[in-house]
Symmetry: D2
């Protein structure tokens, strides 16, 4: 289990997102509040896009904890971006702590991060890999369930013909979730999956909040639309550049935070209000 945060909006300093908020992601690396175990100290990663989006995004990952990493603090203070993904990790037993296992993972212009588990992953891994195309297979460098899930997403995206890019991402995400559940059903032992997945291409983003556990309670996930505090949104005066943050935990005490509904995908576009679709079908709820 981990904590994640995604931002899409006008350009802002990374520090305004991951350092300054009272309950920032760096704070959550030590004191997360909505997990049984508050610690997310097994590395971190942050990904962001150059402001002209002419380039593949940058990813900065480290196996040291986020709370004491000076490089991260330096970067966050100076670097600004209009699309940021950040993740603090609590490693599970089965996969080691090394940079290849830190989120976000990258493929072309896409970044992906995960909070949760693929059920019975050790049993599912082989069939999962066998089921994806070479391009998706070749993008797997480590041993996390999360990176393997991303391979399912890549495979699903490559065969999807939807022309709206955000909807295409949502459909591929829903398809990857369905395929995961099917794999667990076929070769696993009934383990529950928790799939809070955030994916962006720099212009759009999709984030799922999903579980198939019997109690129907996925990992926590919130979103905030509007001006969080002075810094984020300061330049957001032009119509259509309303910032949106999606985060495992509320970054501030602001009343504007809302839960992402269980088993939904939230779709973010720069020029629109967030949209919600079903996490397995990508149909409007």
């Amino acid at each position: 289990m981990c904590r994640l945060m995604l931002y899409l909006g006008p350009e802002t300093r990374l520090s305004s997102l991951i350092v300054d908020p009272k309950h920032s992601l760096i704070r959550q690396s030590v004191h997360s509040e909505e997990r049984e175990e508050p610690l997310n100290g097994d590395g971190f990663g942050v990904g962001w896009y150059a402001n002209d989006h002419s380039l593949e995004p940058a990813v900065f990952r480290s196996i040291t904890p986020a709370w004491n990493n000076r490089n991260l603090q330096n970067l966050a203070r100076v670097v600004a971006s209009d699309c940021v993904l950040a993740h603090v990790r609590a490693a599970t037993q089965s996969s080691g702590v090394n940079e290849a296992n830190c989120h976000p993972f990258r493929w072309r212009q896409y970044l992906c991060m995960h909070n949760g588990d693929v059920g019975d992953f050790r049993l599912v891994r082989r069939q999962l890999l066998a089921s994806v195309c070479d391009e998706a297979f070749g993008n797997v460098y480590g041993s996390t369930d999360s990176e393997h899930f991303f391979a399912l997403f890549i495979d699903s995206l490559l065969t999807n013909r939807e022309r709206d890019p955000a909807l295409r991402m949502a459909q591929a995400l829903a398809r990857a979730i369905s395929r995961t559940l099917e794999l667990v059903r076929n070769v696993g032992q009934g383990g529950d999956s928790y799939l809070n997945i955030a994916i962006s291409d720099g212009e759009h983003a999709v984030v799922s909040r999903f579980t198939d556990a019997d109690d129907g309670v996925p990992e926590s996930l919130y979103y905030f639309s509007g001006q969080l505090y002075r810094d984020v949104g300061a330049k957001a005066k032009r119509k259509g550049t309303q910032p949106v943050i999606v985060s495992s935990e509320r970054l501030t005490a602001d009343a504007g935070w809302a839960e992402v509904p269980a088993n939904q995908i939230i779709i973010l576009r720069r020029d629109r209000a967030p949209q919600f679709v079903d996490a397995r079908t990508a149909e409007p709820r």
Copy 2:
């Protein structure tokens, strides 16, 4: 503030000390119980002596947390020693997380580690450095109060003529504590010092539990003499090789753990019961 553990006894695997106990130091790196903040995740270090004591001790230090370090787990499983020091760090603001700041620190055959603070260290640092001999000065590579305190110890040891090596170490430790308090008094602003300091030469060890805070309550420190559980002490059947562990927190629920009295130094020798002396004078209490 940090957590530390020192072992002197018959040869034992490192894992029997720092991994296996229910409340082992690795456990304390995540869930220490006698600090306000349970986390000691800013690096760790372990030092140990070759069994023939023909060589300077080994030190293995890392800026990643102890709980997820595979090298540490590997080492601990295979390496055995009759004198082991281990430390998990919670960095204070003023000094960064890098290997030079991880404990234990080494000088010749001596290893030193610290749990606590030198009062007003930022103000005291210059005078402290100015007060020690070149040999002690030249051994300072980082920016922690702990390594600077060790320079005071080295300086005090080099001018001490006591012939009993354990008592000489205790006297030098007491002298370094007194000199620290004097420096804080002279150039500081009345800040409290917490000086739980463990030092060994491989054959003997001295560990102080000290504070000059008004409430008189130092950081926690315990010791255990005898057979902790099967593994530690298994070979301790010869007279005079009774193992002793000194630790910030009790490693097990065994009733045999006792507190080191406040403002005392515990002296360990291979062939004797632990001895206690005053932490400022090294006089028997």
Copy 3:
């Protein structure tokens, strides 16, 4: 391409093998002489066995270069073992520098390291993984051709019924080499493989020197049997404990170094002279 060294003999300090020799492995990390590019600075690893062989071997790996790693120097000075494997890495493009990609790799009591390349590995990887049993598959954590080759070895070992453990290892190694060539032939594009592979269980070791390149020249590999210099072999006075070192480059100027013949496997046993078998068939040459 990388450099590797394996030792089997009486207990010796690691430093006598990887630090002290004039052309030690640490020296080779900066200045190897039998590669076009002298640098092997993309991490290192050392594996060794506890002297009672009661435990799985230790592995210490790091992504920093061997030449400046203080932990390695500390360890090497103090730790002694009767079976040591060490490796310095020059990463190829296709796989990143992280600990999971550092050699030696471990499975049960076995350690494996590699100097060379699997031909067309990017094309071969999927079929290779598909061809091995779950146990071998589950041991792959990174993205190197070397670790994938080890999976072939594990799979070959598990189905081999030979009762002599050294010969069984040699046969499994030869089988893994043959299977690699077959995979490259079937799904690759005619790329050459260079397979200098060293594997040990702590009591025996097998090391191949192999290529199927047209010029028939594998990567360099040498062995030395006897007393290398005072330290190594000092305790080797008992019959049958003659030390043997196998190394990518000669560690000293001693005339006793001999080349491992091309396309052979050298088999080491504690109580015998080295034996050579064919690298593809494990038949005596």
Copy 4:
């Protein structure tokens, strides 16, 4: 000895400076050509300024080599700046490889890096520290001669009343060089100093090329003014934003590279041609 590079000009991607050039700094980390030993693999650092200069500069440092660091490649591809400092390190014996010892060093808005040695540093260190003000003293976190030299610069700057900021920096640098030579003369044993020092505040920069060695040959240092290749300088059409690069080795085969004269300081201002002054007096040559 190390390699360094400083850029002052219109905003450009970091990669255009430290990755793309044929003989880039990353290339120099493996294959520097103007040092006896071509390797600079003991860590690296890069510092840069936010484009509105409203903030302290960012510094990204690592103990792993520059050539294989994915975070560096990612950062360099996406981050752009109008003032960049980069450094690859070849550690000397006396100081360890840890982040506190990686260049550039920072104090307020200033960044500093060094290629060379302070003569007899081990002997000089104490007197040097004793000679600077508390502010300069308190900025020393590691054990390199370079960071200690920076303390001399800080101390010299704080007592300098020159109102032109670039000239003030040049005078403080010349003063720090003179003070270093005096310290070596007084408490050293006649060791030579090599002081190629680059310092910037984001708007101006001063770089010395200096030695007091008998042969009078300092470490190599070059500068280039104008459009290096398409990427650097693309936006430099406005008058007064001519880019300048100062580098230990020529980054390209372009004929426009010129040597910085021995024992001079080159002064860079955004709106002027480079200016040269004497490295000990800061007087125009």
